[in-house]
Amino acid sequence: MSIPFGYVSPEQQMRDKADYARKGIARGRSVVVLQYEDGILFVAPNPSRALHKISEIYDRIGFAAVGRYNEFEALRLGGIRYADINGYTYDREDVTARGLANLYAQNLGQIFTESLKPFEVELVVAEVGDTADEDHIYRLTFDGSVFDESGLVAMGGQAEAVAGRLKERYRDGLSLADALQAALFALTEPGGERPPAGQLEVAVLDRNRPHRKFQRLAGPRLEALLAGSSAGEGAVDAGTAEAAAPQDGGSQTPPTAPEGEIDTGSGG
């Protein structure tokens, strides 16, 4: 049996694509998504005020992404269309994060297998429920895999290290200010400098808001929260920082890509 010239085995192709996507994603900065007492918090270091990594999809659904902007922007817009048309056709409560995650998974999977170049993106689709138990956080990788996460997610460059630091500080029912502190601790390399408020993109899905739950936090409100107190929030819930043990219910360190050896392409 002769192998035609230029033949690349499917396994090899997939490995090359996965490797390519992983490298692209790892170049970017991280984004963290975590639950807090009133909903779900999104934090991303992002010097741009115009190009968002975090955005609203629907009443209860938020979106966060890392990787190539044009690629995840196309996914974001598609998600908004999906949500709006379903909410308009049926009812607003018939739009779910699960449906949206499925749509993304189908498309990302198809692109990964069929296109020459996979999307260099990783997404989180989060939905806030009436109680913390009804919150859903789905993480999607470039190959269309969906992970149902509980509590916290980190993705992007150094996702494993960031997730590790986040788990040190995370626990159930953090106040907003404490959750923000935990996120910043995770996003800051040990010994590094914390990003200033102007370099942060922060948003929440707050289950206590009427109508649309998504809200961006910026300006004075964010600075008040960053000042370490719960002043911007009204609720004071500090002083339990020693209970910083990692959650047993938390997921394993999330991989940024499917398992498997990375082929370096050096032919070895």
């Binding site: 955005s55 196309a74 817009l77 269309r81 999906y82 308009y88 069929e114 296109s115 999307f119």
Partner: protein, 282 residues
């Protein structure tokens, strides 16, 4: 690989086809045209009076905002088809609309328009300007013109809080579109003639939102007094007009208790003077 190469970046679902515009209704037109109200099919015969019609909506500006109110009656010819219909809709934090005319088309229109505003906001990361919102609604009304000619006439009254100028603004429409910006106050629907007369006499420029709520409640009462299709406050069933106040703080619909208190006081004073408060002669 071929079939979905025409879609952006190899995506498989047409939800990812970009129409090149931030308009939700344009996307619906290309993706699922059946869902749009005001389709260009013509009816065999005009339906006119056979379907429920929504009646009177009044709006008046107040200090730092605008108040909109609607009665609760829907009529099909001489039949009262619903006693507790809602004809005032929240669109987003700073705008609302009321509908008069064919109730079914109006409700559908309000739902579509709300998604239209939200869709733009989510895509673009900013809200449309008040004028932009008013213009967008005009094209949507014009799209319903063929149906309007068959009897499914619906016209909205659009109100919004405008942060430029910290004031409320009112826009009216006809079946061909619009918008017509109205100053101080306006009313639409079958009882609007009577409501406008009442508003003219009772409107006070720069009045507080609370006082303006009283003005629009009086105007609705006057409309119901003289127009058979407008429902007055139903004290037996405790069905009150829908009243919403839009200010810098956002959209706030008054609770039934708040309205009941005002309406009961108004009804009480009308027992001694049935035509309501009088404006000073000079």
């Amino acid at each position: 690989m071929g079939s979905h190469r025409d879609l952006p970046a190899g995506m498989v679902n047409h939800i990812f086809t970009d129409t090149g515009s931030s308009s939700f209704s344009e996307f619906v037109r290309s993706h699922a045209p059946d869902l749009l109200p005001g389709r260009n099919e013509t009816l065999a015969a005009p339906v006119g009076d056979q379907i429920p019609h929504a009646t009177t909506i009044v709006a008046a500006t107040c200090a730092g905002g605008v108040v909109i109110a609607g009665d609760r009656r829907a009529t099909s010819g001489n039949i009262i088809s619903q006693r507790d219909m809602e004809k005032v809709f929240r669109l987003d934090d700073h705008s609302a609309m009321g509908i008069a005319g064919a109730a079914s088309t109006g409700i559908e229109l309000a739902r579509l328009y709300r998604v239209e505003l939200e869709h733009y906001e989510k895509r673009e990361g900013r809200s449309l300007s008040v004028a932009g919102k008013a213009n967008r609604l005009a094209t949507m009304i014009r799209g319903n013109l063929p149906m309007a000619m068959q009897g499914l006439v619906v016209v909205p009254l659009f109100v919004a809080y405008d942060p430029n100028g910290d004031s409320g603004r009112i826009f009216s429409y006809d079946v061909g579109g619009g918008p017509y910006e109205q100053h101080q106050h306006h009313a639409i629907g079958s009882g609007s003639i009577f409501a406008r007369g009442s508003l003219k006499k009772l409107y006070r420029e720069g009045a507080s939102p609370e006082d303006t709520v009283l003005t629009v409640l009086q105007a609705l009462y006057d409309a119901a007094d003289d127009d058979s299709a407008t429902g007055g406050p139903d004290v037996i069933r405790r069905i009150w007009p829908v009243v919403a106040v839009l200010t810098a703080d956002g959209y706030r619909r008054l609770s039934d208790d708040e309205i009941a208190e005002n309406v009961e006081a108004m009804v009480e004073s009308r027992k001694s003077s049935p035509d309501g408060p009088t404006a000073p002669l000079r």
